[in-house]
């Protein structure tokens, strides 16, 4: 510490005044002050940052701390909160079967949709990473569902498509297969939501595409000369070189799918049904907080979700040491 300040002092020290003409000295002085001001930045950069600060403290950190406090209370939205200690947390793990139901549903959702979505995204990105007529159109077309993805309208459309009289059954009908109501059956409803998620593979696809563009061509040429086929090239070159991008996508998609709310809410008419089969964690949390007057409990649920996501991310980062290859 002392060393640093000392060094700083030295750096800031005025150089010994030279016997220079007074005018030039003044000019130099002014220039120095201006530079110092530039370095310090003055007050106005903070003005530009202020909206961000207000946003982060007012809309993120403040509410987070508030919800942490509320998670130890019995806050019901309408009457003042009372401290109940860890009650919410023990209740969650020991006496709430619906909590475990929503955990099961969410793990299935994340566990199935993320790998499928990433595999599809990578596959399509590789198809689109070659000279092709109308390439721009295909890229846009595949990306489009991602832009629409979170919209309520799309979830409503999904309801129609997979309903008993929906498009999906009509298509099955062409092949003589008799469909069922996929949304309303507890065995299939979660898979319609997974399909909806997989369908929105555009964002990871674009990221994969950007990664693929950067892979060095000469390596492929060398491999081709050595007689490596397409599959070998994919396995031995593309995939290893792309692992940082895969890792990035895995992290983003896992976080995103843990937080999925809108499709489950819309497709099940807010019920998470039939019989809890689409009760994703966020939907359960929402219902507890806003419909059942249990905002304290919902806050506790939110913190558990936060910790679980943090845990998954941490495990991913640790595991990444063994399979992600960086250039160096």
């Amino acid at each position: 510490m002392s060393v640093t300040t000392e060094t700083l002092h030295k750096a800031g020290e005025e150089p010994p005044a030279a016997a220079a003409p007074a005018g030039r000295e003044r000019d130099r002085e002014r220039e120095r002050k201006r530079a110092a001001r530039r370095r310090a930045g003055g007050w106005w950069p903070f003005l530009f940052l202020a909206p961000w600060f207000i946003g982060v403290f007012g809309l993120v950190i403040g509410p987070m701390l508030d919800s942490l406090y509320l998670s130890f209370t019995n806050f019901d939205l309408l009457t003042p909160a009372q401290w109940t200690g860890a009650d919410n947390y023990t209740r969650m793990f020991t006496e709430d079967p619906n909590f475990w139901q929503s955990v099961r549903v969410t793990l299935v959702y994340v566990g199935v949709s993320v790998p499928l979505k990433l595999a599809l995204a990578l596959g399509v990105a590789m198809l689109l990473n070659r000279p092709l007529r109308g390439l721009g159109f295909y890229r846009a077309a595949f990306y489009l569902p991602s832009l629409l993805g979170g919209a309520v309208a799309v979830a409503i459309m999904w309801r129609q498509i997979f309903g008993e009289d929906g498009l999906f059954n009509a298509v099955l009908g062409w092949f003589g297969i008799e469909g069922q109501d996929w949304i309303s059956s507890p065995d299939t409803s979660i898979y319609t939501l997974i399909l909806l998620a997989v369908w929105q593979f555009g964002t990871p696809m674009v990221i994969f595409l950007a990664g693929l563009k950067q892979l060095p061509k000469d390596v492929y040429e060398a491999a081709a000369i050595d007689g490596a086929g397409p599959f070998t090239r994919f396995r031995r070159i593309t995939l290893p070189l792309l692992t940082p991008i895969v890792f990035f996508n895995v992290i983003l998609q896992i976080i995103g799918s843990f937080q999925t709310f809108t499709p489950a809410y819309v497709v099940s008419n807010g019920s998470g049904g039939p019989i809890g089969s689409t009760m994703l964690y966020s939907l359960y949390l929402y219902k507890k907080g806003f419909a059942d007057f249990q905002m304290g409990y919902a806050s506790a649920l939110a913190w558990v979700l936060f910790l679980v996501i943090a845990l998954f991310t941490a495990v991913n980062f640790i595991a990444s040491r063994y399979w992600v290859h960086y250039d160096d």
């Binding site: 530009f48 109501d181 507890p186 807010g270 049904g273 039939p274 419909a291 905002m295």
Partner: protein, 441 residues
Amino acid sequence: MGHTISRRNLLRSAGVVAAATTFGSVLTACSGTGAGTTGGDLTMAWWGSDERHTAYQKALKAFTAKNADIKIKPRYSGYDGYFDKFNTQVSGGSAPDLVQMDTALVAAYAKKGVLAPLDEYVGKSLDLTGFSKSLLAAGTVDGKLYGVPSGIGVNIVTINVTGLKELGLTEPDKEWTWEELKSYAAKIYKASGGKIFGVDDGGGSTNQAFDIFAREKGQNLYTADGKLGYTRETLEEWWTYWAEMRKINASAGGAVTSSAHNDLTKNAVVIGKAMITFDSGLNNSGGSITGATLDFVPTPQGGWSGAREGNYVNGGVLLSATKRSSRVADSVKIMSYFAQDEGAIKDMALLRGIPPTDKARALVAPEMTPNDKRASDAAAYVSDRVAKATDALPAPVAPPEGANQITELLFQSNLAIAFGKKSVKAALSEYFDQAESILSA
């Protein structure tokens, strides 16, 4: 050279100006919303169909024409999310002054101190002439009035007359029993060549069906101290009845029931999968949701010995004032207006239930559609029968907090049986465990 404006300087000053204007508008926007909650306009919230929105607005316009000092800002939406939003607004201190309230939730809100008691206004600025005591019970919690009922609600079964005619069937008798419903519904399935079920699944339908069934056995859904009011045997008998109904195709299976959940447009009668429904929403919020001619009959009666009258009259929807509002007196004026003003009564017609007083019913009668007329007659029939019955239980107490979760639990448990995921026995013990833990929370 030093005095010309450099590009950097220009950008710098432009940035400051831009930031200043942004801030200015942010600050004004804030002060704007802040004033909105306590300022001149009285906010009124309701849920409903487009027809109900239009009727409310028309009546409110007439009201403000007579009461120029009260300006009303309406906030309306569908039922979905209505109370989620209300809870958030109450919590954030921006609750509407006057709010359309659900009879199922009024007790929870009253007990949490969200609603203002209205007793001091009754007979003064709140004119409730013609409202029966049993009707006012719908808005009464712990002896105090927290909401003015908009109309008579009775549990009633809706039947598709057009469809029955096509199948060559005559309407069921008004005084039918549960056993007769079973054989009648089975007849529909047979007559339609196995294409149409008789009735939608009532096994998970708390308010429209199980409620009446339990009362016929002398049990209410909830006791006065907020516990479950029926026995395990009653629910077991009920679920077994519906399991049998599904087995003989008198009633639709899980998929039909599940897709109609919270979505009237998928109701079994609306989509043509059944001829009879326990969902009373088909005709009561602005015209009929189907093109069919509808008729309305009472919920079936108990055919066993000792069975009693299970029906009762409740209050449609309520109008309530919020306690923290500074405009309770003005809100009361509006409630009174909707209760007594001829124009308002005609505007609302049957959009908030069968009108609550004799005077109001007489006013509305000439302009009713045929479906409305039959709904109104059926309600009058049921409420007459209730009034004459000597063995009916008193009208149920307002449901305790958590009742909406129990409603959902009953629905999902019955559905689990319908999908073959649980036996009646297993569903029963899980149901009672969970319901008790909800009610004791």
